[in-house]
């Protein structure tokens, strides 16, 4: 087994990097979209229902099916990595949007009222009170989204987007456990590392809320 890893280390390393790249880009986009979306729904009750409901539905679509659905789309179907990233972003949105919203909604209303009563504008309230007080919640969402994305990204190989899933799919097809493990072990390690690193950042962002 170890021999197999050492012999194929070049390929395993490059697929791991590819995997990391898919997940990294997808989470980056999901944060850029999801955090503002979470802020918007914390201020607009009507949008809240549709956005949280919509992201919830996305999450319930089995990942293989989601990749399949996106395949015929014109711009997406053209490149497998593009398609994979979009699918991963759609999956990552729910935890990020929901945690951003929950973090803001869970702030003691008296604290918000104090901020408004002292003359903060809406953006000052957001930057000085709501974001700092909910930062650790948001990061928890990013952490959940990332760990999930590392797993879901193994499916991306099914549409030819590469990543560690390639070894797993090949291993399944060839009934070769070594190949499967060569994909699965690095993927599991990636997920654990992401969990630990993001968990540490989450702790650093934690502030007293009461």
């Amino acid at each position: 087994m170890l021999d197999f890893f050492i012999k194929n280390r070049g390929q395993i390393a490059s697929l791991t990097l590819e995997h990391l790249w898919l997940v990294g880009i997808a989470i980056g986009i999901a944060v850029l979209v999801g955090v503002p979306l979470g802020i918007v729904v914390s201020r607009n009750q009507w949008l809240r229902k549709s956005v949280l409901g919509g992201t919830n539905v996305l999450q319930t679509i089995p990942s293989l099916a989601l990749f399949g659905f996106l395949l015929p789309a014109p711009w997406l179907g053209a490149r497998a990595d593009r398609l994979a990233i979009v699918a991963l972003v759609l999956y990552a949105l729910l935890p990020i949007v929901r945690n951003t919203y929950t973090g803001i909604a869970a702030i003691d209303p008296a604290v918000k009222e104090a901020a408004i009563g002292m003359g903060m504008t809406d953006s000052e309230l957001l930057m000085q009170v709501e974001l700092p007080l909910s930062a650790s919640f948001m990061l928890a969402g990013v952490r959940i989204a990332t760990v999930t994305a590392v797993g879901v990204a193994t499916i991306a190989a099914a549409v030819g987007a590469g990543g560690l899933g390639e070894l797993i799919f090949r291993g399944v097809a060839m009934v070769n456990n070594q190949l499967i493990l060569a994909g699965a072990i690095p993927a599991a390690l990636l997920a654990i590392v992401a969990d630990v690193v993001l968990g540490a950042i989450e702790n650093r962002l934690r502030v007293p809320r009461k």
Partner: protein
């Protein structure tokens, strides 16, 4: 004494004009009219749920009247820019309402920073205020959850005074304190107010506190104003709603 001349009396700093406030079909305040003049400490007294906090929030436009108007410096709160209005009014909040993620100095500095004071001026002001409200300077970096109730209230007062507002609104500032700390803070408040001469509106349900701190007392009773009295008038009033307050107070004082 210079503050009691007729010219300052004639133009109230805060004026409620037939103010009503309702949510859906629940009436929280009805037909409230009274004024607060420069340099005075007006007490809003009343039982829990009488509408005192609601009245206070109408002054800094956290709420707007559904009937009548509240004037601050002669202008209806609805015609003020709400941000400017609020920054010119200090607010000490029931249960202190400090920002949990800011240290003592961070809390005191909030409004000066919103007003973009230079950092050295902010720092000097923090030191000055901590001294004024009796906070040891070694508490500067502490967070609210690391303070005692009394210390938190002092920070709340310092924060409200930070940008030197003309008006100070205080919602049961000494509510949740033991009697001795409470008496300390009341005494310090009186000394402070003798110096600063702010226009203060202070909410309490404690008659003793009202008589001690207030130049006048506005008595609230289930969303209505029972009247505005000096301490003397309050003690002698035959109004049933006033007697309700004074009688138990007298009885409690007897055995001593």
């Amino acid at each position: 004494m210079s503050n009691t001349d007729e010219s300052s009396k004639s133009s109230p700093v805060i004026e409620f004009r037939e103010v009503g406030y309702r949510i859906a079909n629940q009436i929280l305040l009805k037909d409230i009219s009274f004024s607060a003049f420069a340099g005075e400490t007006l007490v809003l007294l009343g039982r829990s749920g009488a509408g005192k906090t609601t009245a206070l929030k109408l002054i800094n436009r956290l709420l707007t009247p559904t009937h009548g108007e509240v004037d601050v410096n002669g202008r209806s709160t609805t015609s003020w820019n709400p941000i400017l209005l609020r920054r010119s009014i200090g607010w000490v909040i029931q249960e202190s309402g400090l920002f949990p993620h800011y240290s003592v100095e961070g809390n005191i500095a909030v409004v000066p920073k919103l007003e973009r004071w230079p950092q050295d001026r902010v720092n000097a002001r923090i030191s000055e205020l901590m001294h004024i409200v009796g906070l040891e300077s070694n508490l500067r970096g502490r967070y609210p959850h690391q303070l005692s109730g009394g210390q938190r209230q002092r920070v709340g007062v310092a924060r409200a005074l930070a940008a030197d507002p003309v008006i100070l609104l205080m919602d049961e500032p000494f509510g949740a304190l033991d009697p001795i700390t409470r008496a300390d803070l009341q005494r310090e408040f009186l000394a402070l107010q003798r110096r600063l001469r702010k226009t203060v509106v202070i909410v309490t349900h404690d008659l003793r506190e009202a008589l001690l701190l207030g130049t006048r007392i506005a008595l609230f009773d289930s969303g209505k104003l029972a009247g505005v009295f000096t301490a003397q008038e309050f003690a002698n009033s035959q109004d049933a709603r006033v007697r309700e307050y004074v009688t138990p107070f007298r009885e409690a004082a007897l055995p001593i």
